[in-house]
Symmetry: C2
Subunit: 267 residues, 2 copies
Amino acid sequence: MHPFDEAIELTPLGKDRFRGATSPAYANMVGPFGGITNAILLQAAMLHTERLGEPIALTVNFAGPVADGDFEIQAKPVRTNRSTQHWSINLVQGETIQAVATAVFARRREGWSATEAEAPTRLPEPRELPKISLERTPAWVSRYDMRFADGGLSALDGCEQSESLSRLWVRDEPSRLLTFTSLAAICDCFFPRVFLRLGRLVPAGTVSMTTYFHADQALLSAQADRYILGSARGLNFRNGYFDQTADIWSDAGQLMANSHQVVYFRE
Amino acid sequence: MHPFDEAIELTPLGKDRFRGATSPAYANMVGPFGGITNAILLQAAMLHTERLGEPIALTVNFAGPVADGDFEIQAKPVRTNRSTQHWSINLVQGETIQAVATAVFARRREGWSATEAEAPTRLPEPRELPKISLERTPAWVSRYDMRFADGGLSALDGCEQSESLSRLWVRDEPSRLLTFTSLAAICDCFFPRVFLRLGRLVPAGTVSMTTYFHADQALLSAQADRYILGSARGLNFRNGYFDQTADIWSDAGQLMANSHQVVYFRE
């Protein structure tokens, strides 16, 4: 079993409730990697017997660090329309809400399509780029094969920079067929942009993250387990909070997902 | 009383509950203007006796069109930390959930700040631009003084376009001191980008919208009731859904808020 599938494994506990447990393989500095929490919350809706269609939007508010051990997911379809479904999903430990999420699922129908966002260009092939160094990184980083073309951790040289762009090839390690849940996790693989701006690691943590899924199952299946292309940059840093935005592209140049997050930081 | 303040007026109904009513002044084609729903959901947290700090993030999932008349807001601070507070907020009519929202509030502290997003440049002054025509527009459009420099409704000439950028000056009409709630509403004043791409009006409606507040009360107060600058563009249109992103800038060039939304459309 792939470590990702182990990490998002949920056991039904009855109506709208599931039990899961944190996975040391996806540990971050404090608590689990935010991306795996995204994936677990989405997985509860994916597994739910009343689910309609495929995910369109997922918002996760990280209320507090998930403690090592068991947790419960409460996933409720609060409104089901003809082609859309609205979800409220919480991650709870004891009486404590650790994550507050919402999701929208939908049945799409084929129609006019166009991409206005610009795909990153002139990136070397993955095999021409070095793998990220895993020295002193938390466990979750080892669960990905990340190959930075720009803005990797090596850019943290103590000097402030005027730009926080990163571009990289990424896939699960070991490789795994891309799914909605793994895509939701990968959308959070970009470290906090304030590290690049300040040129050093500082305390930082996502408080809210929204992911829009542009891929449907057919696009995910076409991508299979090959590298996908990610880019991320910060937009505005102000008095302890900043936001960053990220795109995930297929290797054929299709936008699979984009995400936005607001992050707390201290200097 | 300003029509905006009338529209967001809420009466406490007891713990975590408020009553409000739709306002014909902010009616859209079907149901109310999404921006006013944003504002009402945020207002419930602003009024709550347990509120901590100022809004950082607001996500609203539009589950169904709010019917004309009374509604109830259920606003619950589900987790309060030392400097952040997480909210779950719903708009309910009878047994039906019409909007599912979450919010993050925080006490900021002053620190390192920088803007990486680029402010729109070379816009004419508001007085040099025509007011938007109110012919055949729903009521809410008349609640704003909108002056488009690019991508206004006049661009809907039946021809497809390759870009969906709009840039405009906007303020409440009549003018009103900018608040978190009015900023949340203005973030939704950009019509669906698919209109610009297709060159015509088509059925479309926001399903989920996230707003990040970069302004604190001091910045809002400094802006007072002067025009603010908005820009919006679509990113990816695919099989019935697209996303668009918008920035709101002060007239002194500070990013006040940005927002992201995913929108359903039919051709």
